[in-house]
C-alpha cells in the first residue's frame, strides 16, 4: 500500500514527487513511457514566464508568479540550467501599443512591479537585430529560459534519491476507488494507494473521469517549433513575444538556455493525443511569424524542428486540487502554458495538500541538493584536466557537435532513473542535439549503451517500444 501514487513523470509529476519526498511517505510515480519528461515536458518553449500574460485571479496567474520567483534558488539547488534573460513583447503597429499597456496593467495586477513600456530606441538598444517593423515593446526583466527536460530530470532524480519509487513503461489502465484509497490497474500489475495524484498531462482527463462525476476535457493543442544552430544563438538576447491571442502567447523567438535559437510555437487544436508530427503549414507559420521580429531568419541554419502538445483544458485554466466528489484524488490537470513556470509552485502546493491529507511527518533525511552530470563542454581547460584525471572516459569526446564525453554518457545511464535508450541519454547529455543531429555519434553511443546496459547492440532503442535502430544482421533476409 502506497501513501501517494502519482500518475505521470513529466515536469509536474516529478516536481510533486520531489516536494513530497520532504515527507515520510511511501511514494510511487507511474509513467507510461520509458523515461521522465517523455511527453509535453520535453517539447515546449522552455520559457519561465514573467506572469503578465495570465489572467488575474486565475490559477495560471497565481502559480506563474509564485513559480517564476523560485527558479534562481531551485536551478542552483538541483543543478539545471536557467537564465533570467528577460522577456520582450513587441508591437508591430501603432494600434498594438494600447494592447501593450493592457498587458502591463494585467502584469501589475498579477503582482509584477518591474514592467516597462519601451520605445523603438530602447528596444534597439536591448535588441540590436530587431527589424524595421517593431515600434515599441513591453519589457519584463524577470522572464527567463530553462531547459525543461533537464529540470524534470533534476526533480525526478532528487525525488528518487530521497526514496520515491518510479516505474516506467507502466501505463495506468484503470483506477477505482477503494475503502482505503485507490486501486490502480497498470500494465505492470496492480497497486494500492491512499492518495492519488493525477499529473497525467494529456491523459489527465481520462484519469479523472475514471473516478469523478465532474468530468475534465483535455484538448491536445499542438505547437510546432524550429531550432537554429548555436551560431545564431545570439541573434536575440531576450525572449521575444508577439501580442497574445486567445489561442496562446503566439510564435516567439528566443535564445535557449543551451545557446541555440528557438522559434515557435504555433497553436492548433487536434484530436489525436499521440500526434506530435510537424506539418508543412505549421513550420511555414513558425518561420513567417518568428521572422517578423528580426525581419528575416537564417533559414540555412535550421538544425531541427519538433512539435509538442499542450494539455489544454476547456476551462482555460489549471485544474488543481482535490476532486470534490472523490476524496484523496488530487487533480493537477490542464497544465499548459505557463505550466513549466508554475511547476515548482504547483508542486509545493500539491505536496502540502497530500502531506496534510496523510498527516505526514517530515523526512529528516531529505537531501535537497542534487548534482547533475558534469558538463565537459562548459568547463575550463583546468577543470577538464581534473575531470579526465578522475576517469579517462571523460577525455573521450563522443558527440563532437556538442562536445559530449563518454564519461557523461555513462553517467547518464548510471544516474538514478538512469537512461535506458538513446533519447534518454540525449536529454541528459545533449549528445545528438548538435548540428549534425547524431549523424556522427549514433554508432558510438550505440556501442556504449549496449555495453553499459549489457544488451545486444540490436536491442538498443531510440525511445523504447518499436524503435530499435539496428533491425537485423546483414544478409539476414537473403
Amino acid at each position: 500500500m502506497y501513501d501517494v501514487a502519482i500518475i505521470g513523470a513529466g515536469v509536474i509529476g516529478s516536481a510533486i514527487a520531489r516536494e513530497l519526498s520532504r515527507f515520510k511517505l511511501k511514494i510511487l510515480v507511474l509513467e507510461k513511457e520509458t523515461d521522465v519528461a517523455s511527453g509535453t515536458s520535453k517539447a515546449n518553449s522552455g520559457i519561465v514566464h514573467a506572469g503578465f500574460d495570465a489572467e488575474p485571479d486565475s490559477l495560471k496567474a497565481r502559480y506563474n508568479i509564485a513559480g517564476q520567483k523560485m527558479f534562481d534558488a531551485l536551478s542552483e539547488e538541483l543543478d539545471f540550467p536557467f537564465k533570467r534573460c528577460g522577456s520582450i513583447v513587441a508591437a508591430f503597429s501603432s494600434d498594438e501599443l494600447p494592447k501593450l499597456e493592457e498587458l502591463k496593467t494585467q502584469g501589475e495586477n498579477n503582482g509584477l512591479n518591474d514592467l516597462k513600456i519601451i520605445g523603438r530606441d530602447e528596444l534597439l538598444r536591448l535588441e540590436p537585430n530587431m527589424g524595421k517593423k517593431a515600434i515599441g515593446a513591453l519589457f519584463a526583466p524577470s522572464g527567463g529560459i530553462v531547459c525543461p527536460y533537464e529540470m524534470t530530470i533534476a526533480f525526478a532524480e532528487n525525488a528518487a534519491e530521497n526514496g520515491v519509487e518510479f516505474l516506467f513503461e507502466c501505463p495506468v489502465e484503470n483506477a477505482v476507488k477503494t475503502k482505503d484509497g485507490f486501486l490502480l490497474k497498470t500494465g505492470l500489475g496492480e497497486f494500492n494507494t491512499k492518495i492519488l495524484i493525477n499529473a497525467a498531462g494529456l491523459f489527465s482527463d481520462q484519469v479523472n473521469n475514471w473516478l469523478s462525476e465532474n468530468k475534465i476535457k483535455i484538448i491536445p493543442r499542438k505547437g510546432e517549433y524550429c531550432l537554429f544552430d548555436k551560431t545564431e544563438g545570439a541573434l536575440v538576447g531576450h525572449t521575444l513575444f508577439q501580442l497574445p491571442t486567445k489561442m496562446g502567447k503566439g510564435v516567439l523567438l528566443s535564445p535557449t538556455v543551451d545557446g541555440n535559437l528557438l522559434a515557435g510555437p504555433t497553436s492548433t487544436d487536434i484530436e489525436d493525443k499521440a500526434n506530435v508530427a510537424t506539418t508543412r503549414e505549421g513550420l511555414e507559420e513558425v518561420l513567417a511569424k518568428s521572422g517578423l521580429y528580426t525581419g528575416g531568419l537564417p533559414l540555412s541554419k535550421i538544425i531541427t524542428a519538433f512539435a509538442g502538445l499542450r494539455a489544454h483544458s476547456i476551462t482555460d485554466d489549471f485544474i488543481i486540487g482535490e476532486a470534490e466528489d472523490v476524496k484523496g484524488l488530487i487533480n493537477v490537470s490542464g497544465i499548459e502554458s505557463p505550466g513549466l513556470t508554475s511547476a515548482p509552485a504547483i508542486a509545493k502546493h500539491v505536496a502540502g495538500l497530500a502531506a496534510e491529507m496523510t498527516a505526514a511527518d517530515k523526512n529528516e533525511s531529505f537531501k535537497p541538493r542534487r548534482k547533475g552530470i558534469p558538463r565537459f563542454r562548459h568547463m575550463s581547460t583546468d577543470e577538464r584536466k581534473a575531470l579526465i584525471a578522475k576517469s579517462p572516459d571523460y577525455g573521450q569526446i563522443v558527440c563532437r557537435c556538442e562536445t559530449v564525453t563518454k564519461g557523461e554518457i555513462l553517467d547518464a545511464m548510471r544516474a538514478p532513473l538512469g537512461a535506458k535508450n538513446l533519447d534518454a541519454v540525449k536529454r541528459r547529455t545533449r549528445m545528438g542535439m548538435g548540428r549534425c543531429q547524431a549523424g556522427f555519434c549514433s554508432m558510438r553511443v550505440l556501442d556504449i549503451v549496449s555495453e553499459e546496459l549489457g544488451i545486444p547492440i540490436d536491442q538498443v532503442t531510440k525511445f523504447g517500444g518499436n524503435t530499435r535502430l539496428l533491425i537485423e544482421k546483414n544478409k539476414a533476409t537473403i
Binding site: 506530435v276 579526465i388 577525455g395 518499436n466 524503435t467 539476414a476
Partner: protein
C-alpha cells in the same frame, strides 16, 4: 608541447599531407585523429573504385587508406588516435582531448584535414514524425559496413549523390529492398559510373526532379511522401504520392567541417564552406593550410591525395623558412563556374605546374573552359558535358605569367559556342 607540424585528421587527406611533409624533410609531425584508427571515412567505403589515378588500380576504401597508413608506419610518423581537437587558436595553439588527458600543442604549422559532415533531415526541415529509421547515408554505411547490421529493410533514399547511390547498392546486396532514389535536380549529383553500377544494375528507380515532402511514422518510419518539383525546385503538392518504407536515407549534401577553422580565424568561402586558400593551400592565417574535403568536397580520393601532398609540401616549405613575398591574385570564378580552389595565385612563388580544381553550378553541354590572364586566354578546353557532380581540373603553368608579367586579373569561366 611544441611541434613543427600538426595535422588535424588522419583520413586520406591528413595521411597524404603528413607523408609529403616528411618526404620534404619535416621530422617533427603529429597526426591527430579522433577515430580509433587511421583511414578516415575510407574505412567504411568497402566498395572499390579508389586509386585509378594514384595507383592505376581499383582498390577498396580501406585498401587505399592502407597504402597511406603503411607509408605513415614506415616513416614512423607520430600519431594519436581517439584524440579530438577541441580548439585551434589563431596563434596555432591546439588543445585536443583523449582518454590520456588534454594535449596542449603549439605548432609551427597546421594542416586542416578534418573532412566533412553530412547534412541531416533537420537542416532540410522536412515535416512529419521523428521516428527511428531516418539516417544520413554515411551513418547507415557505418551501421552496415562496420557494425554489420541493417538499419532497415524497405528503403527510400533522398539524394542521388555518390553516397546515396553507393548505399542503394549496398543495402540491396545485404538484403534490403530499395524502392526509389529521389533526386531534387533534373540530373543526378553522382558519378555516372555509380548510376549505372548502383541503380541501373539493380533495377532501382531514380526519380529526378522529385523531393520528399513528409515523413510518416511515430515509432518507426512507415512511409514517405514524394512529389515532383517545378523549375524552381519547389514541390508540386498535387503530385504527392506515398511510398511505404521503414527507412529513409539522406544523401543531401556534404558540408566541410570548419568549426575549428573558424575559431582559428580562418576565412571561409561562402560558396564551398571551406577555407579560402592560395596556390600553396595556405589559408589567410599564416602557417595554417587546408586540404581534402575540409577545403572543398571531392569526388575522387585520388585528387584528395594529390591536393594534400601539395599542402604537405607547402607546409614543409613554410616551416623551413621560405616565406611568400607578394600578395596573390584572386581568381575570379564566373560564368557558370561555382568556385575554384585555390582562390588566389601568387605567380612568383607558385609551383611550376599547379592544379586548379573547380565545379560548375549546372549541367553544361558543348562548352569550353577558359582561363584568362587579363584579356589573354591561356586555356581553352572544350568539354562536351560538365556537371556539378564531377570536379574538374585544369593545369596552370607558371611560365604563362612570365609571358604576361603584369597580370592583374585571373578569370576562369565557361564559354559556349553561340
Amino acid at each position: 608541447m611544441q611541434v613543427d607540424l600538426a595535422v588535424i585528421g588522419g583520413g586520406p587527406a591528413g595521411l597524404a599531407a603528413a607523408v609529403a611533409a616528411r618526404e620534404a624533410g619535416i621530422e617533427d609531425i603529429i597526426i591527430l585523429e579522433r577515430e580509433e584508427s587511421l583511414g578516415g571515412i575510407l574505412n567504411q567505403c568497402i566498395h572499390n573504385g579508389f586509386g585509378l589515378h594514384t595507383f592505376k588500380e581499383e582498390l577498396t576504401g580501406p585498401e587505399y587508406a592502407g597504402r597511406y597508413i603503411n607509408k605513415v608506419m614506415e616513416a614512423a610518423i607520430p600519431y594519436r588516435l581517439n584524440t579530438m581537437v577541441l580548439s585551434i587558436s589563431p596563434d596555432k595553439k591546439i588543445i585536443a582531448s583523449s582518454g590520456q588527458g588534454l594535449l596542449e600543442l603549439e605548432a609551427k604549422a597546421v594542416i586542416l584535414a578534418m573532412g566533412c559532415r553530412e547534412r541531416p533531415r533537420g537542416a532540410l526541415n522536412i515535416p512529419g514524425g521523428r521516428p527511428v529509421g531516418i539516417y544520413t547515408a554515411g551513418t547507415a554505411q557505418h551501421f552496415v559496413n562496420i557494425k554489420g547490421y541493417m538499419p532497415g529493410k524497405e528503403v527510400v533514399i533522398l539524394g542521388s549523390g555518390d553516397i546515396g547511390l553507393i548505399m542503394a547498392r549496398r543495402m540491396t546486396l545485404e538484403g534490403a529492398r530499395v524502392k526509389a532514389v529521389i533526386e531534387l535536380m533534373p540530373y543526378s549529383g553522382g558519378l555516372n559510373r555509380n548510376i549505372v553500377q548502383c541503380l541501373d544494375d539493380y533495377g532501382i528507380p531514380l526519380r529526378l526532379s522529385h523531393t520528399i515532402t513528409e515523413i510518416i511514422g511515430k515509432e518507426r518510419v512507415e512511409a514517405v511522401k514524394a512529389a515532383r518539383v517545378d523549375e524552381n525546385r519547389r514541390p508540386i503538392y498535387e503530385t504527392e504520392e506515398t511510398i511505404s518504407c521503414d527507412t529513409l536515407l539522406l544523401s543531401v549534401g556534404l558540408l566541410p567541417e570548419n568549426e575549428l577553422s573558424k575559431e582559428a580565424g580562418v576565412k571561409l568561402s561562402p560558396v564551398t564552406g571551406g577555407p579560402l586558400v592560395g596556390d600553396n593551400l595556405q589559408t589567410n592565417m599564416e602557417g595554417v593550410f587546408a586540404c581534402g574535403n575540409v577545403l572543398h568536397v571531392h569526388d575522387l580520393v585520388d585528387f584528395v591525395s594529390e591536393e594534400s601532398e601539395q599542402a604537405g609540401r607547402n607546409a614543409a616549405k613554410y616551416i623551413q623558412g621560405s616565406s611568400r613575398a607578394g600578395k596573390g591574385i584572386e581568381i575570379e570564378a564566373t560564368g557558370g563556374i561555382r568556385y575554384c580552389v585555390p582562390a588566389s595565385i601568387d605567380p612568383v612563388s607558385m609551383e611550376e605546374s599547379l592544379s586548379l580544381r573547380f565545379r560548375v553550378g549546372d549541367v553544361y553541354k558543348n562548352s569550353s573552359i577558359a582561363l584568362y590572364l587579363d584579356e589573354n586566354r591561356v586555356i581553352n578546353k572544350k568539354r562536351p558535358i560538365l556537371t556539378p557532380g564531377e570536379m574538374e581540373t585544369l593545369i596552370l603553368k607558371k611560365e604563362w605569367f612570365a609571358k604576361y608579367p603584369n597580370t592583374k586579373k585571373i578569370i576562369l569561366k565557361l564559354e559556349t559556342k553561340e
